[in-house]
Amino acid sequence: MLITCPYCGPRDVIEFTYQGDGNRERPQPASQDLDAWNAYVYDRLNPAGDHNEIWQHSGGCRAHLRVVRNTITHEILSTAFARGGHKAEGRS
């Protein structure tokens, strides 16, 4: 599998660390809503099909990416910086 890092370009999956379901929303730090915390920590959308995920390019630029990937074909549909802000300027 190749994942196109917006900064580094297409790289082998060996350079990346999977950080799981990208749909999860962390409650506000001071939130006491335990159900919301439980959902964030333990529950996962686990679709057979397109999946919004977080990956870290841990063996490259170390940025976290939002990746839409099909869990049946492993096709990568899109990648973007999780952080936003820095614009990918394409590879030199």
Partner: protein
């Protein structure tokens, strides 16, 4: 001259003789020979024994699909088992031996299994060997008794145990176009793509490019096809943008158009050059792949079709045209299609007598009749072979009239004398890689074959792979594929002109001749047509059940020969068309791949060694090293004759009495910088860091999101916006990822940079009553007195002319300091400290003494923060700030995490004055013989020089409530049972007066 070597022809170099041995007997061959062709030329017909019945077997094929002729290649003590003789290029000194026979290939006692016959039918294991329900052999015993013998009888070759001295390497390659297969289609594709300027890799599993051109006997552009192929390959070799990979099997088609290939770099050489790998594993990321992998000829299924001398027709053509070897003198052919007629002519031209062509079709075209007469062969149309004769070599066969529509036999049997029977059951495109790439094959009723699916990744097919079996089609498709793959559209002039024998590509749908005798579908695994029908009878009718129940297709040829005939027989039994039985998805590898090649450069070098700046000093000064993750750390600096315990007790005692120094460079260190650094640390740690003064350090605890303890360490505030965080050695990488995740994903608004600076700093911790005096003796540029450097204070100065940063903090419980310097100065500073310490009797100490002193102090490490404990379990709840939320704060009070029966940290003292062991358990009851009701376990233990006792830290139910009570350590694995007292984990100097000084 060898008995079966032709006078001329073939791609071998007849002037160069190669000497080798097979089963100890010396033979000769020529450069260009495979072991199979060379032995065949020497008149060898018996190559192997089958898996189950140990039937004698000869060569079935000439290539990678060979199921019978498996050999072990020996290089000294190093064994390479299960290699098809057809894929071994001979070299001087080659030593090969046959397999799965005792005592010899000719006389094999395993052949007694043939008498088992129908008892050893498919699935027989499942129905027996269960043994008695009562008595000494009940349960699994009887089966395991039988299994003992079954295991010894099974198996093919024998693996070696001597380490392989060869080297293996991995190569990462990138290209625009990868062409797999170098037959006419592949050559045309590579050429067309290269002409467009694309970066091209052309790989072929054979030693020479050309594929079928090397043996087809056809003419291309007015020259022999083999010459045309060589010219094409030479042209390609001259291009800078083309990489040619002969002897390279592309075996895996993975996601992202990543393909895995195995290049056999030196397997054909007597000796490798210096540094040359035996095999090279290519990981190829291709823009587009052209699959020009050709096709396999299928065997026909008929009684005793496994007798040595029965061979695929095209294989015989290859032996004749490529290697100059006749598989027999009197040759008969048995076919359901036209391609065997060309083979007949080739055999005839090479000097064999073609005695008969037996064709299941009654309706044979005039063109084929003409080829039969060119071969001077008797044509028996509408006939089938019903038996073969001979022992370990074919002597003849029997034929009968056959009706292809009904499959029925009629008339009298007729015997034909022949020493070679060549069969052709039609052709199956080699679609494995396309199937691996992720789609289902499609059955083509005309070709009677599975054709490649529509691409699910970026590949284009060409030639026989697509079911286009003629060379002219291959050439046209190859060029089109190459152009398309390279993004070109321009037509590049006229196509090469092919002169080939005529023939229709569609076979008659005949796969099996049903007559009396064992008819083999899977040769190596001895799966017969009757086994397939038995599977049907017992309901194992889906293709996967068929495979698994009969082991059809599970042999080393992976069903390349047996897949379609097996399906066809099942389809007939079910009365369904073949595609409704299904087809198996092919998975990597296409052919078996050496494990060494996959380990590649990591064979013999699994993991790098991580070394501290003072590593060489430790080694030179007698340290015994301990491997901790990837790091090496001193365990003890033992004196001659000392045990480990004596050494660490001495080191710890000396530290507490005077001073000791330990290398702490492995601690994880992370620079946390930026305007929001303090805010970030407040969120990450359970305690406050924003209140920490510049120039001070603080101990911090992190939780995971789920509220359990994660890691601990001190963090130093070096500036208003600059912190140096330390982590445990083991968790450095995990903590770094944890921080990066929160900064990138959760709190992107925070302006914080985190950088691993573990390797920037060498760290030495010096502790003990004299530690400060030693520092004072060697540090310049700063005082180190209590006022300048209070507990948890940080100063900057120099040691031995080198800038250092000193933090006064203590893990040992003594007055102690961590001295950090640039890693390149680590040894220099270390040596200066040791020099300064000499008058004080400073000792170097290792991990064991470090552990001893931390146990005495009751400090926790990874043994206690084990991913299952909470801050409360470890009595660190004082660190849980109530003033702010932090990672884990919302989750840490769930019912299961505050339950009263959780394991809590305690101290233990052995009351029998014997050593305790890590991993020993704690029980209440004195019942050594019957371990039960564990209360918890020991996480760390030592002999405490400070207490003069064997002590331990433990996680025990009830925890503090048990302080002062007695229990027993129960360690049945090491036969250790004895009384202990449960005490506080703070054994030594609980109020910290020594470190606060």
């Amino acid at each position: 001259m060898s008995p079966r070597r032709t006078e001329t022809g073939g791609c071998i170099d007849r002037l160069r003789t190669i000497r080798f041995t097979f089963d100890g007997a010396p033979y000769t061959g020529h450069i260009g020979d495979t072991l199979a062709s060379a032995l065949l030329a020497n008149g060898v017909t018996l190559f192997g024994r089958s898996f189950k019945y140990h039937r004698p077997r000869g060569l079935l094929a000439a290539g990678v699909e060979e199921p019978n002729a498996l050999v072990t290649v020996l290089r000294g003590e190093v064994r390479e088992p299960n290699i098809p003789a057809t894929m071994v290029e001979i070299y001087d000194g080659l030593v090969a031996v046959s397999q799965n026979r005792t005592p010899s290939l000719t006389w094999d006692i395993g052949a007694i299994n043939q008498l088992g016959g129908k008892i050893l039918s498919a699935g027989f294991y499942y129905k027996t060997f269960m043994g008695p329900v009562f008595g000494p052999l009940k349960g699994t015993r009887f089966w395991m008794f039988c299994e003992h013998f079954i295991r010894r009888a099974a198996g093919l070759g024998k693996a070696g145990t001597a380490p392989d001295p060869a080297r293996y390497e991995r190569m990462n390659a990138f290209c625009d176009v990868l062409v797999v297969g170098s037959g006419p289609a592949g050559l045309m594709a590579a050429k067309a793509a290269a002409d467009q300027g694309a970066r091209v890799i052309l790989a072929d599993l054979e030693a020479h490019f050309g594929g079928s051109a090397n043996w087809s006997g056809e003419t291309i552009d007015g020259m022999p096809a083999v010459d045309w192929a060589q010219r094409m390959a030479a042209q390609l070799a001259g291009n800078d943008n083309v990489r040619l990979l002969p002897r390279t099997t592309v075996w895996g088609y993975y996601d992202g158009n990543t393909l895995a290939a195995l290049e056999r770099v030196t397997d054909h050489k007597e000796v490798a050059a210096k540094g040359e790998p035996r095999q090279r594993y290519w990981a190829i990321r291709a823009g587009t792949v052209v699959l020009a992998t050709g096709s396999f000829e299928r065997p026909l299924v008929f009684p005793d079709n496994d007798r040595p001398g029965v061979m695929l027709a095209h294989a015989a053509e290859r032996y004749v045209n490529e290697y100059g070897v006749l598989p027999g003198q009197r040759v008969a052919l048995f076919t359901n299609n036209d391609s065997a007629y060309r083979s007949a002519v080739a055999l005839k031209e090479a000097g064999a007598a073609v005695v008969a062509i037996i064709d299941v079709r009654s309706d044979v075209t005039n063109e084929m009749r003409r080829l039969a007469s060119d071969a001077e062969a008797e044509l028996l149309a509408g006939h089938a072979v019903v038996a073969t004769e001979g022992g370990k070599a074919l002597t003849g066969l029997k034929v009968q009239r056959f009706d292809a529509m009904s499959g029925s036999l009629s008339g009298d049997e007729r015997s034909i004398h022949a020493d070679s029977l060549l069969m052709s059951g039609g052709w199956s495109p080699t679609i494995h890689l396309a199937s691996q790439a992720g789609a289902k094959a499609e059955w083509d009723p005309a070709r009677q074959a599975f054709l490649p699916p529509k691409p699910t990744q970026r590949w284009i097919g060409a030639g026989a792979f697509t079911g286009s079996f003629s060379t002219a089609e291959a050439i046209a498709e190859g060029r089109a594929a190459g152009l398309q793959a390279a993004g070109g559209t321009a037509s590049s002039g006229p196509l090469p002109v092919v002169e080939a024998a005529p023939g229709d590509s569609d076979p008659a749908p005949v796969f099996e001749i049903r007559a009396k005798g064992k008819s083999f579908v899977d040769f190596q695994h001895d799966v017969t047509a009757e086994d397939v029908r038995l599977a049907h009878r017992e309901g194992f009718v889906s293709v996967e059940h068929l495979k698994r129940y009969t082991t059809l297709g599970m042999a080393t040829d992976q069903g390349k020969n047996s897949n379609v005939p097996g399906l066809a027989i099942m389809a007939e039994a079910l009365g369904k068309p073949i595609p409704e039985v299904g087809t198996t998805r092919f998975r990597p590898p296409y052919t078996a791949v050496s494990i060494g090649s996959l380990a590649a450069e990591r064979f013999g070098d699994l993991k790098p060694e991580r070394l501290t700046p003072m590593h060489d000093w430790h080694i030179a000064n007698g340290a015994r090293m301990y491997s901790a993750g990837l790091w090496y750390r001193p365990m003890i600096y033992g004196l001659p004759g000392e045990t480990v315990e004596q050494a660490y007790v001495r080191e710890a005692r000396a530290t507490r009495d005077s001073a000791g120094i330990v290398d702490v460079s492995t601690l994880g260190k992370i620079a946390v910088q930026g305007p929001d650094a303090a805010e970030f640390l407040d969120r990450v740690y359970t305690n406050m860091f924003s209140t920490l003064a510049v120039g001070k350090a603080r101990y911090g605890l992190m939780l995971r999101e789920d509220g359990l303890a994660f890691d601990d360490g001190t963090t130093w505030r070096l500036g208003e916006q600059e912190f140096l965080m330390t982590t445990t050695t083991a968790n450095a990488g995990k903590v770094m990822q944890h921080l990066e995740y929160f900064l990138d994903v959760i709190w992107p608004e925070l302006k914080v940079t985190v950088t691993s600076v573990t390797d920037e700093w060498a760290g030495a911790a010096i502790g003990g009553p004299n530690a400060r005096a030693i520092l004072a003796a060697c540090v310049t540029g700063t005082a180190v007195d209590n006022a300048t450097l209070p507990f948890m204070g940080i100063v900057h100065g120099r040691i031995a002319g080198v800038p250092v940063m000193i933090c006064r903090l203590s893990f040992s419980g003594e007055m102690a300091f961590e001295v950090y310097s640039g890693a390149g100065y680590g040894t220099r500073v270390w040596e200066a400290l040791i020099e300064a310490g000499k008058p004080f009797g400073l000792v170097t100490y290792g991990l064991e003494a470090l552990g001893t002193m931390r146990i005495e102090k009751g400090h926790v490490t990874g043994a206690e923060i084990d991913g299952r404990t909470t801050a409360r379990d470890l009595h660190l709840d004082w660190m849980l700030s109530k003033k702010k939320p932090f990672i884990g704060s919302a989750m840490m009070d769930r019912e299961g995490l505050i339950a009263p029966d959780r394991l809590e940290l305690v101290g233990l003292i052995a009351l029998d004055n014997r050593a305790l062991n890590g991993g020993g358990h704690i029980v209440e009851e004195l019942d050594e013989a019957n371990p039960h009701d564990s209360l918890g376990h020991i996480t760390a233990c030592c002999y405490s020089p400070a207490l003069g006792k064997y002590i331990a830290l433990a996680l025990v139910k009830g925890g503090k409530a048990r302080h002062g009570t007695r229990a027993f350590v129960s360690d049945p694995l090491r036969n250790r049972f004895g009384p202990v007292e449960i005490v506080s984990s703070h054994f030594y100097d609980p109020d910290g007066s020594r470190m606060h000084g």
